[in-house]
Amino acid sequence: MCGACGCQPSIGTGQSPQEGFRRVPNDMVLIERDILSKNDRFARENRARLSAAGIFAVNLISSPGSGKTTLLVETMKALKASVSLGVIEGDQQTSLDADRIRATGVSAVQINTGTGCHLDAHMVGHALDDLSLDNGSILFIENVGNLVCPASFDLGEARKVALLSVTEGDDKPLKYPDVFAAASLMVLTKVDLLPHVRFDTGDCIANARAINPNIEVLEVSAQSGAGMAEWTHWLTTSARRSAAEAELATHA
């Protein structure tokens, strides 16, 4: 098994460390740096840039088909009169999602990742160049639909939000814990379908809190409008809180 997949290095690379190399004395170099330090550096730059511009950025992460874009379209309609908004859309292909956002009158930038399964901070930095947002704006970064990989990549956002639709099952937080561990908020979407599916909201919330005891939870249906007021309230209050945190950090 290990010989086949290469997870045992002596088998996987097919040669001993010395073979083909001239060893030089004192050639061991101590590095001790995070493997994703390059992404993290871009993320820090994005965070500083967003904070300086007074923009509250939310990174939306979920499985494909959980209703991220539908929730965003309804969010645009609900908030655009009172708050300046922008959207960065991440998908492997097409600009279908950005088109849906633009149809609401809000500016959107589409990132196509090709074979990539997540957005990274470098891509988001370039997308920021293409958006002009006012001080006090809310920026939504809709990640590639994927409940695994996006959790590992900091984009420079102020908050991560995990979406979970009730058609996916209440055990999802236990099966894909990384995203729920990293998120500040879990939004249960499509709650208008609850009468038709076997989904225990209480169990789901308990599962999410087993992973992340501090996670907040909202129950929303973009279709019926249920919970939309709570969601937009969460966004505007979190934006204010985030701005206050940034203010404190600059004076610290």
């Binding site: 997870c7 190399f21 050639d27 001790e32 740096r33 994927n146 992973i211």
Partner: protein, 135 residues
């Protein structure tokens, strides 16, 4: 899938270190992966593809696994949860969101080889693909 991104990030970082040190090749790469990263096996699998054509090609990758430990503020002690992602104190049941170890994804050390001077960038990272093709 993101293990390939992480393998590429590792290879880029190691190649840069090797280049800065004036080394032509890398013989050994030691990394530290926390239990929560969950990709040790996948990284072993992806590494040879990511390393191909770079100074890391043929290098031995060794991964040190770091177990999960959390801080229980109720017991005021370092604890090991009963299972991954069970962020509660195994003794008192208090929530323990503060992870002390287990999230690491770190390049620890390298053994460099000062052979002949060679280029140390990944072929696909060439800024001008046309120029690369002509050459």
């Amino acid at each position: 899938m993101h293990e390939l991104s992480i393998a590429n990030a590792l290879v880029d970082q190691v190649c840069l270190e090797a280049k800065n040190a004036g080394a032509a090749r890398v013989a050994e790469i030691n990394v530290r992966m926390g239990a929560l990263s969950g990709i040790s096996r996948a990284l072993y699998f992806c590494f040879p593809s990511a390393a191909r054509g770079t100074a890391c090609e043929g290098a031995i990758l060794s991964i040190e696994s770091v177990p999960l430990t959390v801080l229980c503020t109720h017991c005021d002690a370092v604890k090991t949860p009963a299972a991954l992602y069970n962020f509660r104190c195994p003794d008192c049941g208090w929530p323990t969101p503060k992870v002390l170890t287990g999230r690491e994804m770190q390049l620890v050390s390298l053994r460099l080889v000062d052979e002949t001077r060679e280029r140390c960038s990944r072929p696909q990272a060439s800024p001008d693909p046309i120029q690369g093709a002509v050459r």
